[in-house]
Structures are given as C-alpha cells and as structure tokens.
Symmetry: C2
Subunit: 172 residues, 2 copies
C-alpha cells in the first residue's frame, strides 16, 4: 500500500460543507450534528465550533452494525458512539468525510436507532465518490469525484488540525 496526495483541497471543500450545513440548519435550528467516526467526527466537531452551535457534536461509529462485521471485527481504536443529547424526536444531521457504497450509512442509521427514533436524519458529506450499493443519498455534498475501485479515500488531519485527503491504493 502506498499513500499519495490527491489534488482535492480539503480545506476549501470544508468551507463549502460548512455553508451547506448552515443552510440545512437554517430550516432546523434545533438539529444535532453527529459525525461518523473518524473523519466525519473531526468535521462535525469543527462545524459545531465554526457554526457556533451550543454543546458538543455527537460521534457515531458503524462498527457493530456493519454487514461485514464478521470479516472485519473490532479494529483497535475504532472509536465509540457518543451522543451527548436525546436522539428521540430529534432532527439529526449526519456528517461524513467520504460517501461511497452507503453501507456505512445504513449501519450508522441502525446504531442511531439504538438510541432512539429521530424525527429526521439528513446526511452531509465532504466528498461523494459514487459507487453506491444501497439507495442512500446525501442532502449536501461539497464535491463529487471518481476513483478506481481499489483506491481508498479518507480525510486526514495535518498541522494545526487542517484537513487534507489521503488516497490509499489497496491491493483488493
């Protein structure tokens, strides 16, 4: 596996995501941000601060509900779901860095439902790389890219918490 940089300006895309989420929240000022671990959680924490929302953003992990849980198991440092507010009856905006097959989102919805029945769940992502395998679509996407199937795209945090994208070429 080798890592290489892609010419996607994660900081510029973050600005577009922030504006998109601000518009989503204009209709639902009481909505809660929940970031999908790990990249989405970083984004949600920064959005929570930049949009001057009260309290903390939630963090959610898909691990326990993934359909390939049997193959992948629990990886070290997979993060834990932490939802410091009531989910029941709440409007939730899920935040993720990269949307691909949609399987993570399905798993995360089930994880969320373990905590209550949200009034609504919308999804805002930094990058949509296509390749959907489930009928899931975001309300807001900052960018769309096409990648080879064996390429893995993920958000990384650089100096001073600045965002960058990392592309991994897997052997799969």
């Amino acid at each position: 596996m080798s890592s290489t940089s892609l010419t996607l300006d994660a900081e510029a895309l973050y600005g577009a995501l922030r504006d998109g989420v601000r518009r989503l929240l204009a209709d639902r000022p009481d909505a809660a941000l929940v970031g999908i671990w790990s990249g989405g959680a970083w984004l949600a924490a920064r959005l929570q601060a930049d949009l001057q929302l009260a309290g903390e953003a939630g963090v959610i992990t898909s691990t326990l509900h993934r359909d390939d849980f049997a193959e992948r198991g629990l990886s070290a440092g997979a993060g834990n779901t932490k939802l410091p507010f009531e989910i029941d009856g709440r409007h939730v905006v899920l935040i993720d860095d990269v949307l691909f097959t949609g399987r993570t989102i399905r798993a995360v919805l089930n994880e969320l439902y373990d905590f209550g029945r949200p009034a609504s769940v919308s999804l805002a992502v930094l990058v949509d790389r296509g390749g959907r395998e489930l009928p899931i679509q975001p309300s807001f996407t900052a960018a769309r890219v096409t990648l080879a199937p064996q390429q893995r795209l993920a958000l990384a945090q650089g100096e001073g918490g600045r965002f960058a994208f990392a592309v991994e070429n897997t052997s799969a």
Copy 2:
C-alpha cells in the same frame, strides 16, 4: 376518512416504471426484483411477467423492523416476506408504489439483511411524494407529486388487475 381519486394515471406511470426497471436490469441482468408489500409486490409481480424474467419476484414486508412497530403492531393481512432466491451476493431491485419518509425502506433493508448480504440494493418507485425523513433516494421514480401531510397515497388494484391510485385523507 374519505377516499377520492387523484388524476395520476397509474397505468401510464407503470409503463414508465417498467421502462426504468428494464434499463436498471440492462446493467445487471441477474438482479432480482423484490416488491414491498402490498403495492410494490403487485408491481414487482407484473414487472416480472412483463419483462419476461425467470422465476418469481420476491415480496418483502417492513412490519417487523419498523421504528413505529410498538405503536402499530402487527396488522391483519400485513403480508409475509417471501424471497424465493438467495439474497447473499445478489443484486436486488426493490420496487415500491409510493416513496415518502424513507422509513419503510430503512426497515425493508434490515429485513432483507436478515436473509443475507446483497451485492447491491437499488430502489425503483412509481411515485415519490417527497417528505423524506431519512437520507434515502430511489434510482428510478416514474413521477413526483406533492401532497398535504395528512393525505395518504397508495396503489389500488382495479378491474382486471389494472392499477389506480387512491388518496385517503387521514385525520392525523
């Protein structure tokens, strides 16, 4: 509650759905049709015949996975899931009559996963009435309509199995 007819030509929309599903299947000729009980199941059975697909379409019900199961419980004649083929590794095209909040689709995905891990699930619907409460979108929609929240739209079968839409005004 009163029933009234809406000027939506279900038979014409069915023709559009059939063409849309034919195109979806052109990429994935081995995909299985699964209709969501009840309107989607009627549609899937007719599509299976009209598109000259081998075997029977599947039927799926969301009842056991619904997030309002506690309130609604099991209604009489809710139908049973019947999937006369392997789901594991299969491309599945879910068929439904009316897409609204997306909660039924979430429940149906979980029901499907009880039977195996599909290679992909796409969704084709006759009518999208908007009002989504989950980040779910179809691959194909024959029509989009806007209705008052208290109106319920559902497919009905008339003489000779011809489709028509029924709109109910609920007191909710």
